[in-house]
Symmetry: C2
Subunit: 222 residues, 2 copies
DNA sequence: GCGACGATTGAACATGCGTTTAATATTAAA
DNA sequence: TTTAATATTAAACGCATGTTCAATCGTCGC
């Protein structure tokens, strides 16, 4: 007659999976993605992740080995999740971006990738390269009925477009505060007409007399 | 007969400024700006700043009170330095941007502001607002002979342009690696023609039949 | 000269971090 | 039922961090 007292955490006890790791590991990974997406890799602590996943800090290490290894696992997961979602919505192209701001999980994933992009590690670079590839494809193949004017430097052109497409997400918090929008979806709605107008028609409507590069700047050319 | 042994740091001993604080405080501040610009606020340690300024960690606190206060001091300094430099080169407008990548000190300042922009603190927001103001002025007043097509939402339009202008700096490391350029100046040279072309002519040269939202996507329109 | 004061330092303190460890609980296999 | 293996935890370890402290050094007004 053994009296079993389980006084651990009074929550997840009857989940019918007492000794199975993958379920808990997945929960830890999701918690980590959420924390990384919100606070970045450096500022996020293992203790915060453990707390969000309702486990002990030691268990996080037990399942993933180290914080860096956990990050790699999250990277792979998010990268796969996003590319799969993108392919699934490939035919909608422009709509796919919209969907990324609708689905909360996808928004977290995007936030995660943005944070990864800004952190000087190898992980984000892979995503950036991939993203430029996607854009370059769009430029050569067209997207959603739009076609692009080709360039003699398609890689540079694609890099520019990719950077611009990422800019509102990277600066989303600053834009939100500055424009008084409620969230990034609202921000994008506000910016959308300007984006479309720029991409369709440009924004400059006159060229100065002096060309760029021939800087014979008489500084009094009023 | 007192024997004075000064075995501190065998370097700055005869700099003819034994007991003056402002000189040392300025050096610490410059070191801090450099470290913050390179590694961001969180990852930069007081010890690293002290080492770069060739002083003890305690002296950094002695002069500025705390790491956060030191950051505020750096913020004010960089913000003033950039705005002054911008006004000084106001007539050159486009050239001013070029100068920011030529002058190493200015490049450090720009790096600092970018890091400040990405850190979720109040400091960077002030700079962002100011930058949008500058852009909005450019749009209404023109710049370097260029004139802009006006919008019914000038603030949103300026926010978009500001975000785009900042994007290459925010993503400079990613772009440098991806394009194989040597530094941000080289990167900008590579991107410049694409930027000018986009701003002058747009980049899309055909509008799809179906308008956005009426996604009747016959996916076989080769 | 001298005494007060600021500059400056090395050492220590308190805290939070990632990680390790020893122990317990739980499950699956023999 | 026993045994081995895994999941899980609380506690502690080692280290880096921001900061404090007591002491020394140099300068300047008296």
């Amino acid at each position: 007659m053994r009296l079993i007292l389980n006084m651990r955490s009074t929550k997840k006890v009857s989940t019918t999976s007492p000794n199975s790791s993958p379920e808990t590991a997945a929960r830890i990974k999701q918690a980590a993605i959420g924390e990384f997406a919100e606070n970045g890799f450096t500022k996020t602590t293992i203790r915060a992740i453990a707390s969000a996943a309702d486990v002990s800090p030691g268990l996080v290490i037990h399942h993933f080995g180290s914080k860096e290894a956990l990050r790699t696992a999250c990277d792979d997961y998010v990268f796969t999740a996003i590319t799969e979602a993108k392919e699934a919505n490939a035919q909608y192209s422009t709509m796919a971006i919209q969907l990324m701001f609708e689905d909360p999980q996808m928004r977290t994933n995007v936030d995660y990738l943005v944070k990864s992009l800004l952190d000087p590690s190898d992980h984000g670079q892979r995503f950036f390269e991939h993203y430029i590839d996607v854009v370059e494809n769009f430029v050569t193949q067209g997207i959603a009925g739009y076609t692009f004017r080709q360039s003699t430097d398609p890689r540079g052109q694609a890099a520019m477009i990719a950077s611009f497409a990422l800019a509102p997400m990277v600066l989303s918090e600053r834009l939100r505060t500055s424009l008084g929008t409620t969230d990034i979806k609202d921000t994008m709605t506000r910016l959308a007409p300007h984006l479309l107008d720029l991409y369709l028609n440009g924004i400059l409507d006159s060229i100065p007399d002096a060309e760029v590069g021939t800087d014979s700047n008489g500084d009094d050319q009023s």
